[in-house]
Amino acid sequence: MSTITATAAPTKLWGGGKSPFNVEYGKLMMWYFLMSDAFTFGAFLISYGTIRFSSNGWPNPNEVFKSFPFAPEGVHAPLVFVSIMTFILIISSVTMVLAVHAGKQMDKNAVVRNLILTIIGGIAFLSCQAWEWNHLHSEGAWWGANPFLNADGTQSSTNFTNYFFTITGFHGFHVFSGVVINIIMLIMTLLDKFEKRGHYLMIEKAGLYWHFVDLVWVFVFTCFYLI
């Protein structure tokens, strides 16, 4: 069976009678949704880039994001906290792949275990972000308020904080939705919904969304903290 499909598939994909994409409807639609979401995030980040390119000065991210939880006031630890956040998200992405993989093997226990780890990773990331927002807010940064100076010591506009809170907030909202989706997936797995259906395709769709959240963070992390 599989050998016949393999040899016939490349030539007759558009011949009718089968899916030319060879994926389930819901998964294809998840891909298209993620593509549209990529354009939304892209529009945000490109708008940020345009404004930054049109400004004579911009704050130095290493001066702004230099704090660390429980560290004494005035400590200078740029990039450290955000790299921990990045690794949390990468690791939670890995546990999600493992959950998807376990789903293909119909291994319910491994799906449950890896989904729980993914949810913990997502909550850990959200907690880090909550701390960071709270800390920046205590320093006087918020939408419409920018206490930081430009890298060259000149007065900065509020563009920097507006974009930072809007884009990381929009990403954080995606992480939050992803955690909620993963919790629903966990409950459905525990209730044996997927065992009864005979497949774990739902986990794959949730997985696609979760990896997309990780993907967006790669871009946000680079654009705001590194460059």
Partner: protein
């Protein structure tokens, strides 16, 4: 049956091995990015800074490729599916180029034709406390 194409590419052991391999690649790329980021803090030459930023962007795109290709499994899908996702995303090439060019052009035009604005952006402020005082006295 809808997963025949995936089943052809993967038996159990190699799939898990691939996940860990990609994890390692992503971690290494992130660490290189961070090293470049720390290095850039001590660099003042704008040309070198631009080169470092360019390298970071290339590493970022490499990470995106590994996440989409392996974690989201797009590399193992049929070519039709890959194309229906990747080709529309090519719009980003125009999107990014045009808008960053536009931003830069706006900056140059304003600096040239609005000397007052340019002078305003060149006033140095030494401490954030002074900013508050200036704002308070101005209002």
């Amino acid at each position: 049956m809808s997963n025949t194409a995936e089943a052809l590419h993967h038996d159990d052991g190699s799939a898990v091995k691939e996940i860990w391999k990609v994890t390692l690649i992503l971690s290494v790329l992130t660490i290189i990015e961070l090293i470049l980021g720390f290095w850039m803090m001590g660099v003042n030459d704008s040309g070198v800074r631009l080169a470092i930023k360019g390298s970071i962007v290339i590493l970022m795109i490499a990470k995106a490729f590994y996440i989409v290709g392996y974690f989201m499994h797009l590399k193992h899908e049929l070519k039709n599916l890959i194309m229906t996702i990747v080709v529309p995303l090519a719009l980003f090439i125009w999107f990014i180029t045009a808008f960053l060019y536009e931003g830069n052009s706006y900056k140059n035009l304003r600096n040239r034709y609005d000397p007052y604005k340019k002078a305003q952006t060149e006033i140095k402020v030494h401490k954030s406390e002074e900013v508050k005082e200036i704002k308070a006295s101005g209002e």
